[in-house]
Amino acid sequence: MEHSKHLWRAVLILLVLSLGYLLGRGLLVPDTFGEYGHFRGANLAEQMNVRVPNHGIGPESCAPCHAERVKNIAKTPHRVINCETCHGPLRTHVDYPSIEAFMKNPSQFKRTAPMEIHSAQDLCIKCHDAQPAKPKGFPTVEVVQHLKEMGVEPGPNVCMECHDPHDPKI
Protein backbone atom coordinates (compact mmCIF):
# COMPACT_ATOMS: atom_id res chain seq x y z
CA MET A 1 0.00 0.00 0.00
CA GLU A 2 2.31 2.65 -1.31
CA HIS A 3 -0.35 5.32 -1.47
CA SER A 4 -2.39 4.43 1.58
CA LYS A 5 -2.03 8.06 2.72
CA HIS A 6 -4.68 9.05 0.15
CA LEU A 7 -7.06 6.46 1.51
CA TRP A 8 -6.61 7.62 5.07
CA ARG A 9 -7.11 11.20 3.94
CA ALA A 10 -10.40 10.26 2.29
CA VAL A 11 -11.49 8.35 5.38
CA LEU A 12 -10.64 11.32 7.58
CA ILE A 13 -12.56 13.73 5.34
CA LEU A 14 -15.57 11.41 5.37
CA LEU A 15 -15.36 11.13 9.14
CA VAL A 16 -15.18 14.89 9.56
CA LEU A 17 -18.09 15.41 7.16
CA SER A 18 -20.31 12.85 8.88
CA LEU A 19 -19.49 14.15 12.33
CA GLY A 20 -20.15 17.68 11.08
CA TYR A 21 -23.49 16.50 9.74
CA LEU A 22 -24.41 14.84 13.03
CA LEU A 23 -23.33 17.92 14.97
CA GLY A 24 -25.35 20.23 12.73
CA ARG A 25 -28.37 17.96 12.95
CA GLY A 26 -28.08 17.76 16.70
CA LEU A 27 -27.99 21.52 16.97
CA LEU A 28 -30.81 22.20 14.50
CA VAL A 29 -33.35 19.49 15.34
CA PRO A 30 -35.45 20.30 18.41
CA ASP A 31 -35.28 17.98 21.43
CA THR A 32 -38.70 16.39 21.11
CA PHE A 33 -38.76 16.17 17.31
CA GLY A 34 -39.95 12.75 16.17
CA GLU A 35 -41.45 11.80 19.53
CA TYR A 36 -44.94 11.20 18.08
CA GLY A 37 -44.30 11.72 14.38
CA HIS A 38 -42.50 14.06 12.02
CA PHE A 39 -42.94 17.15 14.18
CA ARG A 40 -41.80 18.70 17.45
CA GLY A 41 -43.52 16.49 20.02
CA ALA A 42 -43.62 19.17 22.72
CA ASN A 43 -45.97 21.21 20.54
CA LEU A 44 -48.86 18.80 21.21
CA ALA A 45 -48.97 19.79 24.87
CA GLU A 46 -48.36 23.43 23.94
CA GLN A 47 -51.41 23.36 21.69
CA MET A 48 -53.52 21.80 24.43
CA ASN A 49 -52.51 24.58 26.80
CA VAL A 50 -52.50 27.40 24.28
CA ARG A 51 -55.09 29.27 26.35
CA VAL A 52 -57.64 28.76 29.08
CA PRO A 53 -60.99 28.02 27.38
CA ASN A 54 -63.11 31.19 27.24
CA HIS A 55 -66.38 29.35 26.75
CA GLY A 56 -67.76 27.12 29.48
CA ILE A 57 -69.20 23.63 29.22
CA GLY A 58 -72.73 24.64 28.26
CA PRO A 59 -75.71 25.71 30.39
CA GLU A 60 -74.18 23.66 33.25
CA SER A 61 -71.59 26.42 33.63
CA CYS A 62 -74.34 28.96 34.27
CA ALA A 63 -76.62 26.81 36.46
CA PRO A 64 -74.63 27.22 39.72
CA CYS A 65 -75.60 30.91 39.86
CA HIS A 66 -78.56 31.12 37.46
CA ALA A 67 -80.39 27.89 38.30
CA GLU A 68 -83.85 29.39 37.87
CA ARG A 69 -83.06 30.81 34.44
CA VAL A 70 -81.49 27.56 33.20
CA LYS A 71 -84.42 25.51 34.50
CA ASN A 72 -87.04 27.76 32.92
CA ILE A 73 -85.43 28.02 29.50
CA ALA A 74 -85.23 24.22 29.41
CA LYS A 75 -89.03 24.21 28.94
CA THR A 76 -88.92 26.50 25.89
CA PRO A 77 -87.81 26.01 22.27
CA HIS A 78 -84.70 28.08 23.04
CA ARG A 79 -83.36 25.28 25.28
CA VAL A 80 -81.29 24.17 22.27
CA ILE A 81 -79.22 27.35 22.40
CA ASN A 82 -76.14 27.54 24.58
CA CYS A 83 -76.34 30.61 26.87
CA GLU A 84 -73.03 31.95 25.55
CA THR A 85 -74.38 31.99 21.99
CA CYS A 86 -76.52 35.06 22.72
CA HIS A 87 -74.64 36.46 25.70
CA GLY A 88 -70.87 36.17 25.71
CA PRO A 89 -68.09 33.79 26.67
CA LEU A 90 -68.21 32.73 30.31
CA ARG A 91 -64.71 34.01 30.98
CA THR A 92 -65.68 37.63 30.28
CA HIS A 93 -68.07 37.30 33.23
CA VAL A 94 -66.34 34.89 35.64
CA ASP A 95 -62.61 34.53 36.02
CA TYR A 96 -61.19 31.04 36.46
CA PRO A 97 -57.58 29.87 36.31
CA SER A 98 -58.42 26.67 34.43
CA ILE A 99 -61.56 25.07 33.09
CA GLU A 100 -60.85 21.95 35.17
CA ALA A 101 -60.95 23.98 38.35
CA PHE A 102 -64.16 25.62 37.19
CA MET A 103 -65.85 22.32 36.31
CA LYS A 104 -64.94 20.82 39.70
CA ASN A 105 -66.53 23.63 41.68
CA PRO A 106 -68.15 26.34 39.53
CA SER A 107 -69.71 28.31 42.36
CA GLN A 108 -66.41 29.18 44.07
CA PHE A 109 -65.40 31.63 41.33
CA LYS A 110 -66.35 35.25 41.57
CA ARG A 111 -68.17 37.33 39.01
CA THR A 112 -65.71 39.78 37.53
CA ALA A 113 -67.85 41.73 35.08
CA PRO A 114 -71.47 41.90 34.00
CA MET A 115 -72.41 39.41 31.29
CA GLU A 116 -73.20 40.88 27.90
CA ILE A 117 -76.93 41.33 27.45
CA HIS A 118 -78.11 41.80 23.90
CA SER A 119 -81.52 43.36 23.56
CA ALA A 120 -81.25 44.50 19.98
CA GLN A 121 -83.39 43.22 17.15
CA ASP A 122 -80.35 42.25 15.09
CA LEU A 123 -79.75 39.45 17.58
CA CYS A 124 -83.14 37.89 16.80
CA ILE A 125 -82.87 38.63 13.09
CA LYS A 126 -79.63 36.69 12.74
CA CYS A 127 -81.65 33.50 13.16
CA HIS A 128 -85.25 34.40 12.41
CA ASP A 129 -85.06 36.70 9.39
CA ALA A 130 -86.94 35.17 6.45
CA GLN A 131 -84.47 34.19 3.75
CA PRO A 132 -84.73 31.63 0.95
CA ALA A 133 -81.73 29.76 2.36
CA LYS A 134 -83.39 29.01 5.70
CA PRO A 135 -84.29 25.36 6.21
CA LYS A 136 -87.94 24.44 5.78
CA GLY A 137 -89.89 24.44 9.01
CA PHE A 138 -87.57 26.84 10.80
CA PRO A 139 -89.62 29.72 12.28
CA THR A 140 -88.82 32.88 10.31
CA VAL A 141 -90.42 36.29 9.99
CA GLU A 142 -90.55 38.98 7.29
CA VAL A 143 -89.51 41.73 9.68
CA VAL A 144 -90.75 44.82 7.82
CA GLN A 145 -94.09 43.25 6.98
CA HIS A 146 -94.49 41.82 10.49
CA LEU A 147 -93.92 45.21 12.15
CA LYS A 148 -96.44 46.79 9.77
CA GLU A 149 -99.05 44.16 10.62
CA MET A 150 -98.46 44.63 14.34
CA GLY A 151 -98.52 48.40 14.00
CA VAL A 152 -95.14 48.78 15.72
CA GLU A 153 -92.56 51.44 14.90
CA PRO A 154 -89.23 49.90 13.86
CA GLY A 155 -86.50 50.42 16.45
CA PRO A 156 -83.40 48.76 17.81
CA ASN A 157 -85.16 46.88 20.65
CA VAL A 158 -88.46 46.39 18.91
CA CYS A 159 -88.60 42.57 19.15
CA MET A 160 -88.32 42.57 22.94
CA GLU A 161 -91.49 44.65 23.24
CA CYS A 162 -93.56 41.50 22.55
CA HIS A 163 -91.09 38.59 22.69
CA ASP A 164 -88.90 37.36 25.53
CA PRO A 165 -85.81 35.60 24.21
CA HIS A 166 -85.81 33.35 27.29
CA ASP A 167 -89.38 32.29 26.57
CA PRO A 168 -90.02 32.90 22.87
CA LYS A 169 -93.76 32.30 22.70
CA ILE A 170 -95.52 33.71 19.68
Partner: protein
Protein backbone atom coordinates in the same frame (compact mmCIF):
# COMPACT_ATOMS: atom_id res chain seq x y z
CA UNK B 1 0.80 31.94 17.27
CA UNK B 2 3.22 33.44 14.70
CA UNK B 3 4.89 30.19 13.59
CA UNK B 4 1.64 28.24 13.36
CA UNK B 5 1.96 26.30 10.11
CA UNK B 6 -1.01 25.62 7.88
CA UNK B 7 -0.68 21.89 8.53
CA UNK B 8 -0.67 22.11 12.32
CA UNK B 9 -3.57 24.57 12.23
CA UNK B 10 -5.68 22.21 10.14
CA UNK B 11 -4.72 19.26 12.36
CA UNK B 12 -5.75 21.19 15.46
CA UNK B 13 -8.98 22.36 13.85
CA UNK B 14 -9.93 18.87 12.75
CA UNK B 15 -9.10 17.51 16.19
CA UNK B 16 -11.28 20.09 17.87
CA UNK B 17 -14.12 19.37 15.41
CA UNK B 18 -13.93 15.62 16.00
CA UNK B 19 -13.90 15.97 19.78
CA UNK B 20 -16.75 18.50 19.75
CA UNK B 21 -18.86 16.55 17.32
CA UNK B 22 -18.36 13.27 19.13
CA UNK B 23 -19.33 14.76 22.46
CA UNK B 24 -22.41 16.43 20.98
CA UNK B 25 -23.46 13.21 19.21
CA UNK B 26 -23.06 11.31 22.49
CA UNK B 27 -25.12 13.96 24.27
CA UNK B 28 -27.87 13.53 21.67
CA UNK B 29 -28.43 9.97 22.79
CA UNK B 30 -28.18 10.71 26.46
CA UNK B 31 -31.07 9.20 28.41
CA UNK B 32 -33.96 11.59 29.05
CA UNK B 33 -33.04 13.84 26.14
CA UNK B 34 -35.75 12.50 23.84
CA UNK B 35 -38.30 11.89 26.56
CA UNK B 36 -40.80 14.73 26.91
CA UNK B 37 -43.01 15.25 29.89
CA UNK B 38 -45.70 12.66 29.33
CA UNK B 39 -46.75 12.30 32.94
CA UNK B 40 -49.36 15.00 32.69
CA UNK B 41 -51.04 16.68 35.59
CA UNK B 42 -53.87 19.15 35.82
CA UNK B 43 -52.83 22.09 33.60
CA UNK B 44 -49.16 21.48 34.22
CA UNK B 45 -47.37 23.64 31.68
CA UNK B 46 -46.05 21.41 28.95
CA UNK B 47 -48.11 18.41 30.00
CA UNK B 48 -51.28 16.89 28.63
CA UNK B 49 -54.54 17.60 30.47
CA UNK B 50 -55.46 14.97 33.03
CA UNK B 51 -56.18 11.60 31.52
CA UNK B 52 -55.89 12.67 27.90
CA UNK B 53 -54.14 10.25 25.54
CA UNK B 54 -53.88 11.53 21.96
CA UNK B 55 -53.50 7.97 20.67
CA UNK B 56 -56.86 6.91 22.11
CA UNK B 57 -58.90 9.26 19.92
CA UNK B 58 -59.54 10.03 16.27
CA UNK B 59 -61.71 13.09 15.86
CA UNK B 60 -64.20 13.83 13.11
CA UNK B 61 -66.65 16.59 12.38
CA UNK B 62 -70.10 16.40 10.79
CA UNK B 63 -72.01 19.38 9.35
CA UNK B 64 -75.69 18.89 8.56
CA UNK B 65 -76.43 21.46 5.86
CA UNK B 66 -80.17 20.78 6.08
CA UNK B 67 -80.17 22.41 9.51
CA UNK B 68 -77.95 25.47 9.06
CA UNK B 69 -79.79 28.79 9.45
CA UNK B 70 -76.81 31.03 8.69
CA UNK B 71 -76.88 32.87 12.00
CA UNK B 72 -73.09 33.04 12.30
CA UNK B 73 -73.06 32.05 15.99
CA UNK B 74 -70.23 29.63 15.23
CA UNK B 75 -68.12 32.37 13.63
CA UNK B 76 -68.65 34.68 16.60
CA UNK B 77 -67.91 31.94 19.12
CA UNK B 78 -64.72 31.01 17.29
CA UNK B 79 -63.53 34.63 17.25
CA UNK B 80 -64.12 34.97 20.97
CA UNK B 81 -62.64 31.61 21.90
CA UNK B 82 -59.50 31.75 19.81
CA UNK B 83 -58.81 35.48 19.61
CA UNK B 84 -58.83 35.41 15.81
CA UNK B 85 -57.58 38.70 14.30
CA UNK B 86 -60.09 41.00 12.62
CA UNK B 87 -60.94 40.21 9.01
CA UNK B 88 -59.54 36.68 9.35
CA UNK B 89 -61.63 33.59 10.02
CA UNK B 90 -60.89 30.13 11.31
CA UNK B 91 -64.44 29.22 10.42
CA UNK B 92 -66.87 31.05 8.20
CA UNK B 93 -70.28 30.58 6.59
CA UNK B 94 -71.14 30.92 2.89
CA UNK B 95 -74.56 31.43 1.34
CA UNK B 96 -75.45 29.78 -1.97
CA UNK B 97 -78.45 30.82 -4.06
CA UNK B 98 -79.38 29.25 -7.35
CA UNK B 99 -82.30 29.01 -9.76
CA UNK B 100 -83.02 27.38 -13.09
CA UNK B 101 -82.37 30.62 -14.96
CA UNK B 102 -79.98 32.11 -12.42
CA UNK B 103 -76.32 31.23 -12.07
CA UNK B 104 -75.21 30.19 -8.62
CA UNK B 105 -74.46 33.17 -6.38
CA UNK B 106 -72.14 32.77 -3.42
CA UNK B 107 -71.67 35.38 -0.74
CA UNK B 108 -70.16 35.46 2.71
CA UNK B 109 -70.32 39.01 4.11
CA UNK B 110 -67.68 39.23 6.88
CA UNK B 111 -67.58 35.44 6.87
CA UNK B 112 -71.11 35.44 8.30
CA UNK B 113 -69.82 37.07 11.49
CA UNK B 114 -72.85 39.37 11.70
CA UNK B 115 -75.30 36.93 10.18
CA UNK B 116 -76.57 37.45 6.65
CA UNK B 117 -78.35 40.57 5.43
CA UNK B 118 -81.93 40.02 4.39
CA UNK B 119 -82.02 38.83 0.82
CA UNK B 120 -85.73 39.33 0.29
CA UNK B 121 -84.81 41.72 -2.51
CA UNK B 122 -83.31 40.04 -5.52
CA UNK B 123 -84.32 36.51 -4.71
CA UNK B 124 -86.54 36.30 -7.75
CA UNK B 125 -86.27 32.88 -9.32
CA UNK B 126 -84.17 31.34 -6.57
CA UNK B 127 -85.16 27.69 -6.42
CA UNK B 128 -82.39 26.42 -4.19
CA UNK B 129 -80.57 28.20 -1.39
CA UNK B 130 -78.61 27.09 1.63
CA UNK B 131 -75.79 28.06 3.96
CA UNK B 132 -72.49 26.20 4.12
CA UNK B 133 -70.28 26.53 7.19
CA UNK B 134 -66.63 25.92 6.37
CA UNK B 135 -63.37 25.50 8.23
CA UNK B 136 -60.21 23.44 8.18
CA UNK B 137 -61.11 19.90 7.12
CA UNK B 138 -58.22 18.30 9.04
CA UNK B 139 -57.43 16.09 6.06
CA UNK B 140 -55.77 12.72 6.52
CA UNK B 141 -53.76 13.27 3.30
CA UNK B 142 -53.13 16.92 3.56
CA UNK B 143 -51.29 19.11 1.07
CA UNK B 144 -50.41 21.72 3.69
CA UNK B 145 -48.31 19.24 5.67
CA UNK B 146 -46.63 18.02 2.50
CA UNK B 147 -45.44 21.45 1.41
CA UNK B 148 -44.24 22.74 4.77
CA UNK B 149 -40.44 23.10 4.55
CA UNK B 150 -39.99 23.21 8.34
CA UNK B 151 -42.32 20.41 9.50
CA UNK B 152 -44.14 23.17 11.34
CA UNK B 153 -47.55 21.88 10.33
CA UNK B 154 -48.26 18.27 11.05
CA UNK B 155 -50.87 15.60 11.58
CA UNK B 156 -51.37 14.84 15.26
CA UNK B 157 -51.99 11.29 16.58
CA UNK B 158 -55.65 12.15 17.21
CA UNK B 159 -56.15 13.20 13.60
CA UNK B 160 -55.84 16.98 13.71
CA UNK B 161 -53.72 19.17 11.50
CA UNK B 162 -51.89 21.64 13.74
CA UNK B 163 -49.37 24.43 13.27
CA UNK B 164 -46.30 24.64 15.49
CA UNK B 165 -45.90 28.40 15.79
CA UNK B 166 -42.35 28.05 17.04
CA UNK B 167 -41.18 26.33 13.85
CA UNK B 168 -43.37 28.20 11.37
CA UNK B 169 -41.52 30.83 9.38
CA UNK B 170 -44.62 32.31 7.79
CA UNK B 171 -43.59 31.45 4.25
CA UNK B 172 -47.20 30.89 3.25
CA UNK B 173 -46.70 27.73 1.18
CA UNK B 174 -49.39 25.93 3.17
CA UNK B 175 -51.79 28.86 2.73
CA UNK B 176 -51.49 28.41 -1.02
CA UNK B 177 -51.58 24.62 -0.84
CA UNK B 178 -54.87 24.38 1.06
CA UNK B 179 -57.69 23.75 -1.42
CA UNK B 180 -60.27 24.86 1.16
CA UNK B 181 -58.84 28.33 1.82
CA UNK B 182 -58.88 27.55 5.52
CA UNK B 183 -55.41 28.88 6.32
CA UNK B 184 -54.17 32.42 6.70
CA UNK B 185 -51.05 34.19 7.90
CA UNK B 186 -51.80 35.70 11.27
CA UNK B 187 -50.69 39.35 11.16
CA UNK B 188 -49.95 39.33 14.90
CA UNK B 189 -47.93 36.14 15.25
CA UNK B 190 -46.62 36.22 11.66
CA UNK B 191 -47.24 32.49 11.41
CA UNK B 192 -49.76 30.30 9.62
CA UNK B 193 -53.01 30.03 11.51
CA UNK B 194 -56.22 28.09 11.12
CA UNK B 195 -58.91 26.13 12.92
CA UNK B 196 -57.60 23.65 15.49
CA UNK B 197 -61.02 22.19 16.35
CA UNK B 198 -60.32 23.96 19.67
CA UNK B 199 -57.60 21.51 20.66
CA UNK B 200 -57.33 23.19 24.07
CA UNK B 201 -60.99 22.32 24.64
CA UNK B 202 -61.36 18.86 23.09
CA UNK B 203 -58.29 17.58 24.95
CA UNK B 204 -60.22 18.47 28.12
CA UNK B 205 -63.38 16.66 27.05
CA UNK B 206 -65.22 19.81 25.94
CA UNK B 207 -66.74 20.48 22.55
CA UNK B 208 -65.22 23.01 20.14
CA UNK B 209 -66.63 26.51 20.67
CA UNK B 210 -68.43 26.52 17.29
CA UNK B 211 -70.19 23.23 18.03
CA UNK B 212 -71.28 24.47 21.43
CA UNK B 213 -72.55 27.76 20.00
CA UNK B 214 -74.57 26.20 17.16
CA UNK B 215 -78.28 26.59 18.01
CA UNK B 216 -79.61 24.08 15.48
CA UNK B 217 -77.37 21.04 15.79
CA UNK B 218 -75.82 21.70 12.38
CA UNK B 219 -72.32 21.17 13.71
CA UNK B 220 -71.43 17.91 15.41
CA UNK B 221 -68.09 16.81 16.73
CA UNK B 222 -67.05 13.36 17.83
CA UNK B 223 -64.47 10.67 18.25
CA UNK B 224 -64.66 7.81 15.73
CA UNK B 225 -62.63 5.55 18.02
CA UNK B 226 -65.54 5.58 20.46
CA UNK B 227 -68.03 2.89 19.32
CA UNK B 228 -70.96 4.71 20.97
CA UNK B 229 -70.22 8.16 19.53
CA UNK B 230 -73.18 9.68 17.64
CA UNK B 231 -70.86 11.24 15.07
CA UNK B 232 -69.31 7.86 14.33
CA UNK B 233 -72.83 6.48 13.92
CA UNK B 234 -73.73 9.25 11.43
CA UNK B 235 -70.57 8.63 9.42
CA UNK B 236 -71.36 4.90 9.37
CA UNK B 237 -75.05 5.19 8.46
CA UNK B 238 -75.81 8.49 6.71
CA UNK B 239 -75.00 9.55 3.15
CA UNK B 240 -72.24 12.05 3.62
CA UNK B 241 -70.02 14.02 1.30
CA UNK B 242 -66.76 15.89 1.61
CA UNK B 243 -65.63 19.11 -0.02
CA UNK B 244 -63.63 18.70 -3.25
CA UNK B 245 -63.27 14.92 -3.15
CA UNK B 246 -61.29 15.14 -6.41
CA UNK B 247 -58.42 16.59 -4.37
CA UNK B 248 -58.00 13.19 -2.63
CA UNK B 249 -57.20 14.93 0.63
CA UNK B 250 -59.41 12.62 2.72
CA UNK B 251 -61.05 15.31 4.85
CA UNK B 252 -62.34 14.39 8.31
CA UNK B 253 -65.04 17.03 8.05
CA UNK B 254 -68.17 15.41 6.59
CA UNK B 255 -71.23 17.16 5.17
CA UNK B 256 -74.79 15.87 5.13
CA UNK B 257 -76.86 17.22 2.23
CA UNK B 258 -73.97 18.58 0.22
CA UNK B 259 -74.96 20.16 -3.09
CA UNK B 260 -72.89 19.82 -6.25
CA UNK B 261 -72.47 23.60 -6.42
CA UNK B 262 -70.47 23.76 -3.19
CA UNK B 263 -66.82 24.26 -3.90
Amino acid sequence: MKDLSRRSFLRAAIGVTIVGATSSVISLFAPGKLKAASAATDMQPGGFPDGYDPFAHLFSYVIDLKKCIGCGSCVRACKKENDVPDEFYRTWVERYQKGRDRPVEIDSPDGGLYGFPSSTAGTEGVSKAYYVPKMCNHCAQTPCVQVCPFSATYLSPDGLVLVDGERCMGCGYCVQACPYASRFLNPRTKTADKCTWCYHRISRGLRPACVQACPTGTRMFGDVKDPYDPVRHIIDTERIGVLQPQMLTKPKCYYIGLDKEVR
